[in-house]
């Protein structure tokens, strides 16, 4: 792998950057692998990377229907946080957040993880109590969190409407300073480059057409590029997990819906933090390029079309203007939708399945991006050992029959 650094950049500039190697190969699939990962998004590539790096698995293929990172990895609002209420969630996302913190160096690829702090805003005493519950739960789980009063908020949100004349006057907030954003595409690319260097075959434009199951054990996948044998298959295909598991006769408790997002025109820095407000339903940050990145809510209906309804944009920007009336003349440059798999408790589906050798990493709903390194690492461990990692265990399918849901409903708000 060609190393990336300022010095290398300088060196390559002398040859007009003509000698940079491809960040990953474009191999034809072998006939057989030890492990096949379906889905070349952040999760699948991260799992491949950690399987190769930490578990020494030699023959791994990542199969991607389109282009790597082309699914929800490249369609989300890039927020990273671990400010969860439930212990199981907090541990999972905190594990991920810690991996984020060294990821650029680990991958030698700058994923531009920017820990600028994530604020949750409250507009009433009751909402503040709800936030405090999360705040204290985080602290109990060893995750840092701070309570901000109005005085402090003025510094954090210099051009927000903090007056009492707002429809929902802001009364306080909690902040996770380690929360941040990252360059979403770079995460997929960085893991792809890292995995490729460790020998992982990344096979793009290869669609899985069937899962080969014999005696309730996975034997491989049928693809548009032929049959690929493997005794272990990990499914990491957000938006398509349900469709894929059906090939193995497994139904999943989730529905796929469009989740919308938008960006504004690029502007000079005008927001230095990330805001999550579950009362007015606003989710906003500013990218390094200067665009305001705004998360909207999902449309309620089943869809695979990556097209949402217009009214979601209206509701979203009404909420943004409630917090930031000064942005009224700012322009929305693009809006789009991704398809997310929503589970009944809004927590992911991870772990083993009823088919031997078939593993699942899906159902991430609106929050999968932040889990990328963590889910990759933990699923790698789970697949390598054929045993759910302790942090993965609570997210198994068995929770729907036992009733042990990991319900972040009250705490999640909009993502």
């Amino acid at each position: 792998m060609q190393k990336y650094s300022f010095f290398k950049l300088l060196q390559h500039s002398l040859s007009h950057h003509k000698n940079w190697q491809a960040a990953w190969r474009n191999p034809a699939p072998a006939r057989e692998y030890d492990i096949v990962i379906v889905g070349g998004g952040g999760h699948g590539l991260a799992a491949a990377y950690y399987l190769a790096k930490k578990h020494g698995v030699k023959r791994i293929a990542v199969i991607e229907k389109g282009w790597l990172g082309g699914g929800n990895t490249g369609r989300n609002t890039t927020v990273i946080r671990s400010n969860y209420l439930r212990d199981d969630s907090a541990r999972l996302y905190e594990h991920s957040l810690q991996l984020w913190e060294g990821l650029s160096q680990e991958l030698n690829y700058n994923v531009m993880f920017s820990q600028r702090g994530l604020l949750n805003l409250a507009h009433s005493h009751h909402e503040m109590s709800t936030l405090l519950q999360r705040h204290y739960a985080m602290i109990e789980n060893g995750i840092e969190s701070e309570i901000l009063n109005m005085q402090q908020l003025k510094k954090w949100l210099p051009n927000a409407n903090l007056t009492s004349s707002a429809r929902y006057p802001i009364t306080g907030a909690i902040v996770q300073r380690r929360g941040g954003t990252a360059r979403h595409d770079a995460v997929a690319w960085g893991y792809a480059r890292g995995a490729d260097a460790l020998g992982v075959d990344i096979i793009q434009q290869c669609e899985v057409q069937d899962l080969i199951v014999t005696n309730n054990a996975i034997k491989g996948v049928e693809t548009t590029k032929g049959t690929i044998k493997a005794d272990k298959v990990l499914l990491c295909a957000a938006g398509h997990s349900g469709h894929l598991t059906k090939m193995a006769g497994l139904e999943l408790p989730m529905v796929s819906v469009p989740l919308q997002a938008m960006v504004s025109e690029p502007m000079k820095p005008c927001m230095n933090t990330i805001i999550n407000d579950s009362t007015v339903h606003a989710y906003i940050s500013q990218s390094d390029k200067g665009e305001l990145v705004i998360g909207a809510s999902n449309d309620p209906y089943l869809s695979y079309s990556q097209r949402g309804s217009w009214q979601v944009n209206e509701e979203t920007l009404q909420a943004i203007l409630e917090l930031y009336p000064v942005f009224s003349r700012v322009k929305m440059m693009r809006h789009w939708a991704g398809i997310v798999d929503i589970t009944p408790d809004r927590s992911p589906l991870m772990g083993l399945t009823d088919v031997k050798g078939l593993y699942l990493d899906g159902g991430w709903g609106t929050g999968g991006f932040k889990a990328t390194p963590g889910a990759g690492d933990l699923m790698a461990d789970t697949v390598a050992n054929d045993k759910a990692h302790p942090l993965v265990k609570p997210f198994g399918l068995d929770r729907f029959t036992s009733g042990r849901l990991v319900d972040e409903g009250a705490a999640s708000g909009v993502h």
């Binding site: 408790p253 989730m254 309620p300 209906y301 089943l302 695979y304």
Partner: protein, 93 residues
């Protein structure tokens, strides 16, 4: 933006409606008699159909009536609407 044909009121804008998910899910007649897995199936497992799905909607900001619809989850096109209790029309795709 969906334009939904309420069987009682006619075509109306999407924001007048409330989506109710997959249609024709019947609550077990005697819940105590079904095992935990079957209960979970009833409560949580949905077909998540790629293609034409039977689903239910309520014209909540109109007549208030629930009804069923056949809609394609890829194109968002409605192929039929029909009343609660009726079977889905056949031969559509």
């Amino acid at each position: 933006m969906l334009l939904i044909n309420c069987p009682f009121c006619g075509a109306r804008e999407e924001h007048e409606f409330h989506y109710g998910g997959q249609a024709h899910i019947t609550r077990p007649a005697d819940p105590e008699q079904v095992d935990d897995k079957a209960w979970a199936d009833y409560l949580y497992y949905r077909k998540n159909t790629l293609g034409l799905q039977a689903e239910r909607w309520q014209h909540s900001f109109g007549c208030g009536q629930w009804f069923n619809a056949l809609r394609c989850s890829q194109t968002h096109q409605f192929k039929a609407v029909y009343k609660m209790g009726d079977d889905a029309p056949e031969g559509l795709s």
